[in-house]
């Protein structure tokens, strides 16, 4: 019973006109585990998570939540089903205060009828507390999100998703734009969300970020699945090789090796 996956993706296909963004992809996500989706640019990673978060609907295949098939018609429906997403472009409004962004779309209210209003005190207090709980040290919840650094923004977005998403957290390349140190910080938040019992889908094209936190790895290439592995079934080197498409990587290594001998400067 406890072994039942939180989310199961079965043979999901998505086409945009003649482009097959995603063709027959399957994997599972369990509570308290991290499923990594790896692939090069254009592999279909974002398309997959947009299906999971209700932005797109699959043309074929199905999603099972707690073993039951679900249809996620809109981001709202996905949120209501407990699926929270941190998008590559973050879904935060730069000019708005952190606390306003934190509760955007799910604002707490107080009062009645025409006097129903945004409960600002609760929102500000909760934002401060949730960020602190995740170990995020922001200076002032009232400052615009646009003034935060990339890593801080990711962290706020993750804290928001943890606060609302409860069950399944999806992260689209949260570390791709970050330096080594900031990426480490974000990976730590991912681990913390996992330890809280959330199922996490972590999209990345960097195997070095995926391997330390991942429990399962789904490899995509040009919309096709190259395989879906549990952690023990794969070594980091194999993972890197498969991602780059084995032979292609060898070729590349070969090419790069020759270069320094021919170049004079630098």
């Amino acid at each position: 019973m406890t072994d039942e996956p939180l989310l199961e993706i079965r043979n999901v296909t998505k086409r945009f006109g003649s482009v097959i963004s995603l063709g027959g992809v399957s994997t599972t996500v369990r509570a308290g585990q991290v499923t990594c989706v790896l692939g090069d640019n254009g592999a279909g990673k974002s398309t997959l998570i947009k299906i999971l978060s209700g932005v797109h609907q699959p043309d074929e295949g199905e999603l099972l939540l707690d073993g039951r098939p679900v249809r996620l018609g809109s981001p709202r429906e996905a949120l209501d089903a407990g699926i929270a997403t941190v998008y590559q472009d973050l879904a935060m409004v730069p000019l708005m205060a952190i606390w306003r962004n934190f509760f955007l779309g799910s604002e707490p209210t107080k009062g009645w009828g025409p006097f129903r209003r945004f409960d600002r005190a609760t929102a500000i207090e909760t934002t401060r507390r949730e960020l602190l709980d995740m170990g995020i040290d922001i200076r002032d919840p009232d400052q615009p999100v646009g003034t935060l650094s990339g890593g801080e923004r990711q962290s706020v977005a993750i804290a928001r998703a943890v606060h609302f998403g409860a069950r399944l957290l999806i992260l689209d390349e949260p570390t791709s734009a970050l330096g080594v140190k900031q990426a480490g910080v974000v990976l730590r938040y991912i681990a913390r969300a996992r330890d809280r019992g959330l199922g996490v889908v972590f999209i990345t094209h960097n195997p070095h970020h995926a391997f330390p936190v991942g429990d399962r790895f789904l490899l995509l290439n040009r919309g096709k699945s190259l395989g879906d592995f549990a952690k023990g079934e794969l070594s980091p080197t194999e993972l890197t090789r498969m991602m780059a498409g084995g032979a292609e990587l060898d070729q590349l290594a070969h090419e790069l090796q020759r270069e320094p001998t021919e170049k004079a400067p630098q």
Partner: protein, 349 residues
Amino acid sequence: MSTGTVTSAGPDERLARVGLLKRVLLKPELGALIGAVLVFGFFAALSDVFRSASGIANWLDPASTLGIMAVAVALLMIGGHFDLSAGVQTGTAAITSGLLTTYYGVNTWAALAISLALVLAIGFVNGYLVVRTGLPSFIITLGTFLMLQGLNLGITKLVTNTVQINNFNRILGYDVLHAVFASEFTIAGASFQIAILWWVIATILGSWLLLRTRFGNWIFATGGDANASRNVGVPVARTTISLFMITSFAAWFVGTTQIVRLTSIQAQAGFGQELIYIVAAVIGGCLLTGGFGSAVGAAVGALIFGMTSQGIVYAGWDADWFKFFLGAMLLLAVLANQYIRRFAELSRR
């Protein structure tokens, strides 16, 4: 914050350095408030009448009806859109009420309800077209603006054979309407238009809506980044359409004020005003790109407009200078806004 906990001293230091300055600068209405004080000081120094009670009543009057519209238009602009048909809708509302009562003998309250329903429908269509097509609201409302301009003139001429509707004071219940829309109250011997009161109420309501309700959060978000908002479940389409309808409601209110006060209405009423509303909102700190601004700022923008337009007369200058002043103020406001935006949005990119 007076704990002895040993944390890094960094964060608090940064808070003191960046936070305070930023917080003050990020008040959208700040520039307008400073501008209003300067403009008042300037004209008050030039003319005693300007700062007398009757002078104040005089410049608050044009500020008031403009201010009601500017607040609604500011909400719409913060939500990321323009309504070029807002001015002409004041005319449409007044002409509809006027024709129905004075030419077709429709009951006053029914006529007012019909004209309200009509402009709300126009607002809905504006919003719906913008949401469905994804085209700039500038173009969509330019279309409705031209259509309404034609209709206002065409229908008025067709029915009355003139370009004016008269005798609105002869309709049933005019007393009540006059009390609500056009009565005056006296302070310090000067009589003030009741529209000033409505303007204050509109500003408080607009500000409350914007800063204290979920809908307000959605307005900022929709104008700031519609896509991001949609992704987190903000009803962007509903918010946008509501904003256009709020603007239309304000147009109905101002149009009704106009016809009740003058007891007649020109078929041309409201033409060209739409740009003045936008100017007031921008002077008040609204960004043309949406997502930033305030209702109080827009009201102060209208105040600056009122003070300048009358102040120039009191100072004994040619009224032609008014447009120059207004344009200069607009330019200043836009430059200041641009700076603030860069400060808020780009300082950490």
